[in-house]
């Protein structure tokens, strides 16, 4: 039986494999141009501004013309999620730990720069050329550590996840939600203060104590850079421990 497996058609286009056509007018557009326009809108107005009509207007065609290049708006978002990724950092002779730290931080910074990515990135497994390049570089940095391929992928997944959730949290606490600003909550300190007033110390003993002790207040407050490094080091320490364990187990191709 012939293999039925293929890439979804958007993904095919993300890899530059636009269908070869012989007859008919030359296409005026291509997926990359459409995606770039959509990203510009998202950067300027957020995801809410990205309507098919708005994107089409920006590239100079009617709204329905986009459906020649994309099967649905979902497809467009998928393409955006990949195209928005810049090139991953260069290894430059760094150790795996140094490199993965930079890799994760850059990853997070990209998400903070483009908060709309947060709403899109988690939904689809990475299949585009840019995101997979990031994955490749993470795996490459772990060459010679003794981890097997599956473990390397898991490590990269965990770091990706950390970048994503840290960015989501920072964004949410620091002005991501207009309702918070309306309520006068402008940052982590306010957030903690309000919570401290609401929590019943009997049902929330540990949390209300933490809030009252001012864990969210001051210069060493919540969600500054130190907190990012903190969580990142948690993961990297765990990875380092694993690598050391593998090294002790012997370097053979064991089970």
């Amino acid at each position: 039986m012939a293999q039925e497996r293929a890439l979804p058609s958007v993904v095919e286009r993300m890899w530059g494999r636009e269908p070869v056509t012989r007859r008919g007018p030359r296409p005026r557009l291509n997926l990359a141009a459409i995606t770039a326009a959509a990203i510009e809108i998202a950067d300027a107005e957020g995801l809410a501004g990205v309507s098919m009509a708005a994107v089409a207007a920006r590239v100079g065609v009617a709204a329905t013309a986009l459906y020649r290049y994309v099967e649905s708006k979902e497809d467009l978002l998928t393409a955006m999620a990949d195209a928005a990724a810049p090139l991953p950092p260069e290894p430059e002779g760094r150790t795996w730990r140094e490199y993965l730290a930079v890799w994760t931080r850059t990853h997070r910074d990209i998400l903070l720069d483009r908060p709309w990515l947060l709403s899109v990135a988690g939904s689809v497994p990475p299949m585009g050329p840019r995101r997979l390049l990031w994955l490749d570089r993470a795996l490459a940095s772990l060459d010679g550590t003794g981890l097997d391929d599956g473990e390397k992928i898991n490590v990269a997944s965990a770091l990706t996840g950390y970048a994503l959730t840290d960015a989501a949290l920072v964004h949410a606490v620091a002005g991501g939600d207009p309702r918070m600003e309306e309520a006068g909550i402008k940052g982590a300190a306010d957030y903690g203060e309000v919570l401290a007033g609401v929590l019943d110390p009997e049902t929330y003993p540990a949390l209300s104590a933490a809030m009252r002790s001012g864990a969210m207040r001051g210069a060493e407050g919540w969600m500054d850079d130190g907190d990012f490094v903190f969580g990142l080091d948690l993961l990297l320490d765990g990875i380092e421990a694993l690598i050391r364990r593998r090294a002790l187990e012997g370097h053979g191709g064991g089970e």
Copy 2:
């Protein structure tokens, strides 16, 4: 100056503080009933089925009546994200590590049970009674470890993030996207196989090698339970290292 800080009105209602009214007809509904109906719909049909009209129909009022209890659909989603959380697991005399392992796994399983939560959970900082109860229990489990409150919160955040991204990944790879099934990609193994066919070994050396080596294939494939435990242990090992470090530094309240 009087403190302007307050909770957004939905959040106020999530805490049971519905506004006290004296005159006029008794409200037929409350936020909890609306939220419960919305959750039932989301469980049955996914987030796409949750329209204001559908929710209103389920509780037996006109669509516009909901706006007496909620300022926007966003508000409703926020309330759903909190109400969907069950009670956190009980400590039952477990060590912090045992407890946080159960806590994180349960957290992830909830997200897999209700994939629609994935699209909602990351957007807003937890401010509702249920989600904060989870946070409280995580902090409580770290009592006596020598970590300060800020560190405890960071630990809980990192674990929350891990639960979230692991669930998102499992969901995405295993049937979360109808486009994948259309393309004949039914699981991680197919995913790996297709990628192996697309990747150019020169630009993606590490990744294409991993795919060709079959890292995603077979019983020890991608995204089974072992992979969840793998990443979780990474984090827990890191936390354990931190706790040990703190214990050595001395038990005083020093910086």
